[in-house]
């Protein structure tokens, strides 16, 4: 599996053409309404004084999302921003701070960040959440920030999202161990009969 990345850490990542020129940097990541995959990125210019750009980067034009850069073939693939941000409800702001509930009705926390897979898939594999008491035992002061896998069935309303109850068995404290948990979660689902 490709490297996992938190969507917030993508901000300021340079957008680099295959001919080695940095043409922009990531301003924000845009997801589809189901928070299932990245639909594109809004961009800002590179450098301290440059503001947001009129152009955006649709996911279909991304060559690869890497640890150090978003690669594109050339600057011609950038599109006008309204094309990428066509559906306002698809914006990241609707997912952030949303409550996370299991399909058994327990609240497990609120969304802090969205975890995506690098490479060419653009898939959302999970969320970084501020865990509630139901999920992480212990004193309230040591309120945990943990990663939960997304699961294939996910309902998103803008205020809340519902994940399968068994996803909460695969929480992790950091991204590297989360990558292994996501794999185990997927394998476990495929192994069990419906």
């Amino acid at each position: 599996m490709n490297e996992l990345m938190a969507a917030r850490s993508l901000t300021t990542l340079p957008v680099v053409t295959l001919s080695g020129e940095a043409v922009a940097q990531i301003k924000d990541t845009v997801f589809d309404a189901e928070a299932g995959r990245i639909t594109g990125f809004t961009l800002s210019g590179r450098g301290l004084l440059s503001g947001p750009l009129k152009q955006s980067l649709p996911w279909t034009a991304v060559h690869s999302l890497g640890h150090d850069a978003v690669m594109i073939v050339d600057a011609g693939v950038l599109a006008d921003t309204p094309v990428v941000v066509a559906r306002r409800e698809a914006q990241q702001g609707r997912v952030l701070h949303a409550r996370v509930l299991t399909d058994e009705g327990a609240q497990v926390g609120t969304v802090l960040d969205v975890v995506v897979e690098g490479g060419t898939s653009g898939r959302v594999v999970g969320f970084r959440i501020a865990a509630g008491k139901a999920l992480v035992q212990g004193s309230r002061r040591r309120r945990h920030r943990v990663y939960v896998p997304r699961g294939e069935t996910l309902a998103v309303s803008g205020r809340a999202l519902v994940i399968p109850a068994d996803a909460t068995r695969y929480v992790a404290d950091d991204l590297p161990s989360f990558a292994a948990r996501v794999g185990a979660f997927r394998d476990g689902r495929e192994g069990t009969p419906p």
Binding site: V16, L18, G20, S64, H67, V70
Partner: protein, 138 residues
């Protein structure tokens, strides 16, 4: 076989008159085809930089570069300094910076780009710009 670091600083002389026109400052590379296309020469006293096409060179030896004509080429491509530049794979991961470049002075062909992690063969080079040298993931 020669390194960019060895070529830098070599005196550049005309073949017919043995006039020294300066020293090699840097080499311009075309990454997709993997060849050195131009040599940038800095004057000894005037500090003026001249650009010579590879075709104008007679020989690059261990101690000097001999040129047939010191006339500037009609078209000068943009120069990107390779040593010190970051290297990105086409998947967007940085794999270090360019330390040196190995090339054949007889043919202008680049053999490899040298990094701390080892050599990147020239057939992996994809593009070279202001920001990075982009290579195929190996």
């Amino acid at each position: 076989m020669m390194l960019f670091s060895q070529a830098r600083g070599l005196p550049v002389l005309t073949l017919a008159e043995a006039d020294e026109i300066g020293v090699v400052r840097s080499l311009t590379v075309d990454a997709p085809s993997g060849v050195v296309t131009h040599v940038r020469v800095r004057g000894r006293h005037a500090r003026k930089e001249t650009v010579l096409a590879w075709g104008a060179l007679h020989a690059i030896g261990p101690d000097a570069v001999l040129v047939r004509s010191a006339a500037a080429p009609a078209e000068v491509p943009s120069h990107h300094e390779l040593p010190g530049l970051r290297i990105l794979t086409e998947t967007g991961d940085q794999i270090g910076t360019v330390q040196d470049v190995v090339f054949e002075p007889e043919t202008s062909r680049i053999e490899a780009v040298r990094t701390v992690q080892g050599d990147v063969p020239a057939d992996r080079l994809l593009g070279l710009g202001d920001y990075a040298l982009v290579v195929r993931a190996g």
